[in-house]
């Protein structure tokens, strides 16, 4: 299966290599660098490459390439999925130590076949688990809310949610979680500990949890269920036919936030190439304009319904360049605590199989996934 793994940083340096079978020279990565060169953007490197003697399967995460070498037929998704798990694990556990990463990799694969990929299990191998008698279940509904046309209609909106659990219970507790409105869920995928049959028959999540933090379930709420969009955007961006300048005016206001505050509000705009600089004033928060990437970021923070944040000012264009054809889209990022915009609610969480009384809690959170306002 997986023969070797190379970790390569953004600059193209191999900073870690691990072999599960015989050692493969790192020169095999040259084929990858060639492809990377060709692709220009790191995101565009083909995940599967063929070289005369090996196959290279790679992922790009957090400015790192995880490049695996395989020699025989193997489902590519198998490798990709595994590499993402590696990326997750390294992220969760390691900040500073290559040796630990190396040791971890040793534990994760045996002869190229995954042995232990649960970060909980791996943690156990590194240090003994802490025993805390508490359960914290976090329900996060992060929405991939939609796009608006100039008229204000929603082009497309959907919600992708995830239930993350943090379990610290001794023994073999058998938990079951039910929802007030499971019919909302359009499509779900589960952590392996969840019993499929119980879900099919009674729409309840029944499971014996692993220790620690893990993703219990991913769900999808389709666009058929009306997705409410929490904020509205009034924007006016225009470039003048005469003279190398343009104007920008953006106001954001709350729409349906169910009485909760919108936090971590941020607007990102990819400006046309011709825009040289921006001279703007924000009533709230800060803005930055990156000249190299042509990205305008307006970090607003909390949304105050009494005093709506506004960003306005002028844009200067490269002289002589043709006027940009289309206005750029606005990408909006936001968070709302204590509410899941999908409306999904946990009804109850019960524990069987152990005698003690657990501490239970649930936290809801809405996050904008990919919220684009078209202009």
């Amino acid at each position: 299966m997986i023969h070797s793994l190379f970790l390569i940083n953004h600059a193209g340096d191999i900073f870690l290599e691990k072999h599960w079978k015989s050692v493969i020279s790192r020169s095999v990565c040259d084929y990858f660098f060639e492809a990377k060169e060709k692709a220009v953007e790191p995101e565009n490197v083909p995940p599967v490459l063929q070289t005369p003697h090996h196959y290279l399967i790679s992922i790009y995460r957090d400015k790192l390439f995880f490049l695996s070498v395989v020699q025989t037929e193997v489902p590519p998704l198998f490798v990709i999925e595994f590499l993402h798990r590696v990326a997750d694990t390294i992220q969760v556990l390691i900040n500073d130590n290559v040796v630990t990463v190396y040791e971890l990799l040793e534990e994760m694969l045996d002869n190229g076949f995954p042995l232990a990929t649960e970060s909980n299990v791996l943690k156990e191998m590194i240090r003994p688990p802490t025993i805390l008698r508490s359960v914290v279940n976090t329900l996060t509904g992060s929405s991939n809310v939609g796009d608006k046309l100039p008229t204000g209609t929603t082009v497309f909106a959907e919600i992708q949610g995830v239930i993350e659990a943090s379990v610290r219970l001794t023994g073999m507790p058998d938990l079951s979680m039910t929802f007030m409105n499971p019919s909302l869920l359009d499509d779900v995928s589960f952590h392996p500990c969840v019993r499929f049959k119980r879900w099919e028959s009674e729409r309840a999540l029944s499971f014996i949890p692993p220790d620690g933090n893990f993703t219990l379930m991913n769900y999808h709420v389709s666009s058929q269920n009306l997705v409410t969009i929490p904020v509205y955007v009034k924007q006016n961006i225009c470039f003048f036919e005469t003279g190398p300048c343009g104007r920008l005016d953006i106001t954001i206001g709350p729409k349906q936030t169910m009485g909760k505050t919108v936090e971590a509000l941020m607007v990102t705009i990819h400006m046309p190439k011709a825009v040289l600089s921006a001279n703007l004033t924000a009533t709230q928060g800060n803005y930055t304009y990156d000249l190299a990437t042509k990205v305008l970021v307006w970090d607003i923070g909390k949304l105050n319904p009494q005093k709506l944040p506004n960003l306005r000012g002028s844009l200067s264009l490269q002289s002589g360049a043709p006027k940009p054809e289309d206005n750029p889209s606005l990408n909006i990022d936001l968070k709302i605590q204590q509410v899941a915009i999908s409306g999904l609610k946990v009804s109850r969480l019960e524990m069987n199989g152990e005698k003690y009384k657990p501490f239970k809690g649930v936290k809801y959170l809405t996050k904008a996934g990919n919220f684009q306002v078209r202009t």
């Binding site: 290599e17 020699q71 190396y102 045996d110 002869n111 359009d186």
Partner: protein, 1020 residues
């Protein structure tokens, strides 16, 4: 330790040095700027007495390894620490060993004894990791030790250790492929394991070592299906891929024409099995094998897995195995995958693309149908506005594909594209024109408006491809736009000289077409253009002009061709097919690397076509007694190599109890109390009950019982080296010749290892053990160990009893070519009994037999056989290596029918596997009288290796021996009853002659076999 940022590390050496600077214990006088000295320094640290210093040093050493730096010179210093009590240090040393053992083989051997001791550790994780490291040390000399360790671990109490042994099988196989046969035995044993932890890994080994031994799967098929949901995710992927392949060889196609599919199956998804069975008994043109359904049913929930590889794997399984109507259930899950990481999307889209092309867009139309096409189109409109023009162009092509694929929206797409014609960007317009051209060609009716619109835009379009396309469209549909076309031509005549070549060519075309349809208006214009073309700089255009002129302008020279000008130029053109580049990928199994690359990757296993007739279903039946019987048989043969001391015995007991304990770790203790239960497989698997208790099964279960008292504790207290020595002694007996060489090295090693070897315990055998041993030696004589189950040739079925003579009872038989379960000297025969009468037959059994001493293992009496029903039973016959027919009576309650089974000589053999060297050695012993040979003329179709082995295997049940020469094909087998070696050798000579040689002491068999073999090889 150091806080060097992970992502910014660039040079390994500097990092190590820097780390060194920060650690206080480093001697101060050490120069820090050279990595060579750092190595020296590390060596000093490793040789110090302080644990902390050693640990620090090891961390840095591993740091060097992880950066790809060479740290091999520290090997002697590192390997000394292998026996360290500090777990953390030990782990790092393991990591180091695995990396460098191959380079420093002699030194690596120093560590072996430590691992051997660790293999006996009470902690399962230490046992597991010891085996992991031991098997990762790629040193050929320790192959025998690895083999022993694997066999022992395969019987370990802990499923974790058994899983590790499954991985070790693959490692050993890649180190020494000659161990294949022994490894297959271990695989066979592990396949029977009921632990979910083991299943995935052992199937992985199966796929790597012996993917063609599909016969090993039969008995485990249902168990694997049932375990699947609980197997860890990575194992699921491997198992599902394997089962996909398996199913394609065992079941008939559910896609057949007119196959009515029972919708109830889908609904019965979570219903009880009884309902399912009811469905099956109804007569249908196509009835899905219940095992086929089982697979589909048990994989479906996995579509909900969080692991994208699992979901994809189930999707491909449905794609390749499910009835067409059911494939759609994977859609939603695949769409979910598309929200995952970019790399996942890449792979999934490739697969969806293949799916959608092959089955007429069932899936794509699910994604893009009338309802959402407008959404998609609007989305596309945004993309078209994108600043990346190449992307915009690609989008337009996609719109074009949508338009052709979904007829209802063609008009919408077309008008959308026409709108794009007025786009400011040239590339967008050009691309639109090209796509419109293609679209109009597919649907040329009443689109004159669009053509007119395009004509109007013509002046503003400068991209030559687009201009050429418009001109072509004009010409093609000039009868629909009779007024505009000449005008366009007139404009073109004006600018002809300034145009690009491609436009000029189309202008000439247009002119010619107009001349033919509307010569009155355009005659002069055409002549003018042709004249311009005549003197053009490009020879292409001059050529074309000359050709067109000859074609359309009548003169004395141009003959018959002229008449056909109209037909030639205005022939209706076939519409182009707009399709993506994923067309021919369907030859690969979906989800595979080969599919992704669109080339065959190393180790790719072809997915076979559905068989026309399903192979015998009964092979998957797990008989009530069979698993325990064969297990114990195998166990006992295993024991022959392993035990004569208590330790072996206790491990046999522990292995049995493990099968239960792994599913419920808590119940470990209980299992001891109920040792008898274990021999029974769960009721779910027991579908038939044809077999009586084999004597072997009983014997061994009793031995297990008696030993169960001693359990695990005794294992731990045993001195580590003892069992190994024992094993060696016993093992060397049956295989002395083959093994002698390796044995020597093994001996050396044990002597070499500094570990204190305790003297073997006094060899007092308990009576049960002795009986075990007897059983063992018996199976060794019949050489079941070396006998492999054959590769599957075509199964010939013979008639045993015709239904006319049998008063409605008919019987057929075939030789399944599997080792007989009842007695090793018997040939297994499967008999299919069918009741063709209109009343049920009762008490079908075997009566008198002749010759009198004939040893037959009868099937159990069949109490009742309903009309039209049939049943497959298996029996064993000892033919004593002769082709003399076995005569017996097949009795029902009322009648008796004399029948006889006459075996072909080839069926009296069992395949035997050996290396080429062993083969020539054995052959050397069987010369002279024992050799029979003939020169034959081969049919040309038979000269490939594949064809030869197919033909030979169809005649006789032998195993192929790997051959280093291309022209020589060797096969080896043993006679079933006496175990005499039969060697078949076919040497290809010039001009399609070949020398066929058979070496065996059974000269009668040899001549018969020679005759039988000649026939298929000489024919076609």
């Amino acid at each position: 330790m150091s806080t060097i940022a992970l992502y910014n590390d660039q040079g390994g050496a500097e990092a190590a040095v820097e780390a060194g600077r920060r650690t206080p214990p480093v001697p101060a006088e050490l120069p820090l700027d050279s990595s060579a000295l750092t190595l020296k320094n590390l060596k000093e640290m490793l040789e110090s007495n302080k644990e902390s210093l050693k640990l620090e040093a090891m961390k840095r050493v591993v740091g060097l390894i992880s950066k790809g730096k060479n740290a091999s010179e520290l090997f002697p210093a590192v390997v000394k620490n292998v026996a360290s009590k500090n777990i953390e240090l030990k782990k790092l040393v393991y990591v180091y060993l695995v990396r460098y053992a191959e380079e420093q083989q002699d030194l690596a051997l120093l560590s072996i004894s430590t691992f051997q001791r660790a293999l006996k550790d009470p902690n399962q994780f230490i046992r597991g990791s010891a085996l992991r490291v031991l098997s990762s040390i790629r040193v050929p000399i320790i192959v025998p030790i690895m083999m022993l360790a694997i066999k022992e671990a395969a019987a370990d109490l802990s499923p974790y250790v058994r899983k590790t042994s499954a991985h070790a099988i693959q490692k050993l196989y890649s180190l020494d492929p000659d161990q294949k046969e022994q490894l297959i035995e271990v695989i066979e044993k592990l396949l029977k394991d009921k632990s979910t932890l083991v299943a995935g890994s052992v199937v992985m080994s199966f796929e790597e070592v012996c993917p063609d031994r599909i016969d090993l799967i039969h008995k485990n098929y249902r168990k694997l299906c049932n375990l699947l949901v609980d197997v860890e995710e990575w194992g699921q992927v491997v198992i599902i891929s394997m089962l996909t392949r398996y199913a394609r060889t065992q079941f008939t196609s559910p896609w057949k024409e007119g196959a009515t599919f029972d919708e109830n199956h889908d609904k019965a998804f979570y219903d009880s099995d009884s309902e399912e069975k009811k469905d099956q008994t109804e007569a249908k043109p196509y009835i899905m094998d219940p095992d086929h359904r089982l697979l589909l049913r048990n994989t479906k929930p996995l579509l909900q897995s969080r692991n994208t590889a699992v979901v994809m794997c189930v999707a491909q399984l449905y794609w390749h195995l499910a009835p067409t109507q059911e494939v759609n259930i994977v859609t939603k899950s695949l769409v979910r995958l598309l929200r995952s990481h970019r790399e996942v999307q890449y792979i999934v889209l490739q697969n969806i693309a293949t799916m959608s092309i092959q089955r007429k867009l069932e899936i794509l139309t699910n994604l893009a149908n009338e309802a959402n096409i407008s959404t998609i189109l609007r989305e596309f409109q945004t993309y078209v506005k994108s600043q990346d023009k190449a992307f915009a162009a690609a989008t337009i092509q996609a719109i074009g594909r949508c338009a052709t694929n979904i007829t209802d929206v063609t008009d919408t797409c077309l008008s959308g594209l026409v709108l794009l014609l007025s786009n400011r960007d040239e590339t967008v317009v050009a691309e639109s024109v090209v796509v419109i051209k293609k679209l109009l060609q597919t649907q040329p009716t009443q689109h004159s408006e669009i053509i007119k619109h395009m004509a109007k835009l013509f002046d503003n379009i400068t991209v030559s491809m687009a201009r050429a396309s418009i001109l072509w469209l004009m010409g093609e549909y000039c009868d629909r736009v009779p007024k505009i076309a000449p005008d366009v031509l007139r404009k073109m005549a004006k600018t002809f000289t300034a145009e690009e070549d491609i436009v000029k060519l189309q202008t000439v075309n247009l002119a010619a077409k107009l001349y033919l349809t509307n010569s009155k208006q355009t005659k002069l214009l055409t002549q003018y253009i042709l004249n311009l073309g005549k003197y053009d700089q490009s020879y292409d255009i001059r050529d074309r002009t000359r050709f067109i002129r000859q074609l359309i302008v009548p003169n004395e020279k141009s003959g018959a061709l002229n008449k056909y000008a109209r037909r030639i130029l205005l022939a209706p053109k076939p519409a182009p097919v707009l399709e993506s580049s994923f067309k021919d990928r369907d030859r690969f199994q979906l989800g595979t690397l080969s599919h992704s690359l669109n080339t065959k990757a190393a180790g790719y296993q072809e997915l076979s076509d559905w068989p026309a007739v399903a192979p015998d279903q009964s092979v998957r039946n797990v008989e009530v007694i069979e698993p325990s019987g064969s297990e114990s048989e195998e166990e006992s043969s295993e024991e022959s190599e392993k035990t004569s001391s208590d330790s072996g015995k206790s491990s046999s007991g522990s292995e049995k109890s493990s099968s239960e304990s792994e599913s419920e770790p808590k119940k470990k203790k209980k299992t001891k109390k109920a040792p008898q239960k274990k021999s029974k497989p769960p009721a779910a698997f027991s579908d038939s009950d044809e077999n009586g208790n084999g004597p072997v099964a009983q014997a061994s279960s009793s031995s297990a019982e008696s030993s169960s008292g001693s359990e695990t504790d005794s294992e731990d207290s045993d001195p580590p080296a003892t069992p190994q020595k024992k094993k060696k002694d016993v093992k060397s007996k049956p295989k002395a010749e083959v093994k002698s060489k390796v044995e020597v090295s093994l001996l050396d090693l044990v002597d070499f290892s500094p570990a204190p070897t305790n003297a073997p315990k006094s060899s007092v055998f308990s009576s049960s053990l002795l009986s075990d041993l007897e059983g063992l030696s018996l199976s060794n004589i019949s050489s079941t160990i070396q006998v492999t189950t054959p590769s599957f040739g075509p199964v010939k079925t013979y008639e045993l009893l015709h239904h006319m003579t049998g008063k409605g009872l008919s019987a057929k038989y075939h030789f399944p070519r599997q080792p007989c379960l009842y007695e090793p000297s018997m040939v297994a025969v499967q008999v299919i009994l069918t009741n063709s009468s209109d009343h049920s037959l009762e008490e079908i059994h075997i009566g008198e037999r002749s010759p009198a001493g004939l040893n037959i293992h009868c099937f159990n009496t069949i109490e009742r056989l309903e009309p039209e029903a049939s049943v497959t039973v298996s029996m064993g016959i000892d033919f004593s290596d002769s082709t003399q027919a076995a005569n017996f009576q097949l009795c029902t309650k009322e009648d008796q029918f004399s029948v006889s089974i006459q075996p072909a000589v080839g069926e009296l053999l069992m395949p035997s596997s050996m290396t080429e060297q062993d083969y020539s050695k054995e052959q050397g012993k069987l010369l002279g009288m024992n050799e029979t040979s003939a020169t034959i003329t081969m049919a040309t179709a038979n000269t490939s290796r594949l064809a030869i082995s197919k033909q030979v295997l169809s005649v006789c049940n032998v195993g192929e021996v790997p051959s280093s020469q291309n022209s020589v094909h060797r096969f080896a087998g043993r006679t079933v009853s006496s175990g005499a070696l039969v060697l078949v050798c076919l040497e290809l000579k010039e001009s399609s002659t070949a020398l066929l040689t058979i070496n065996t002491e059974k000269s009668v068999m040899a001549s018969m076999l020679l005759r039988d073999l000649k026939q298929p090889l000489v024919q076609a």
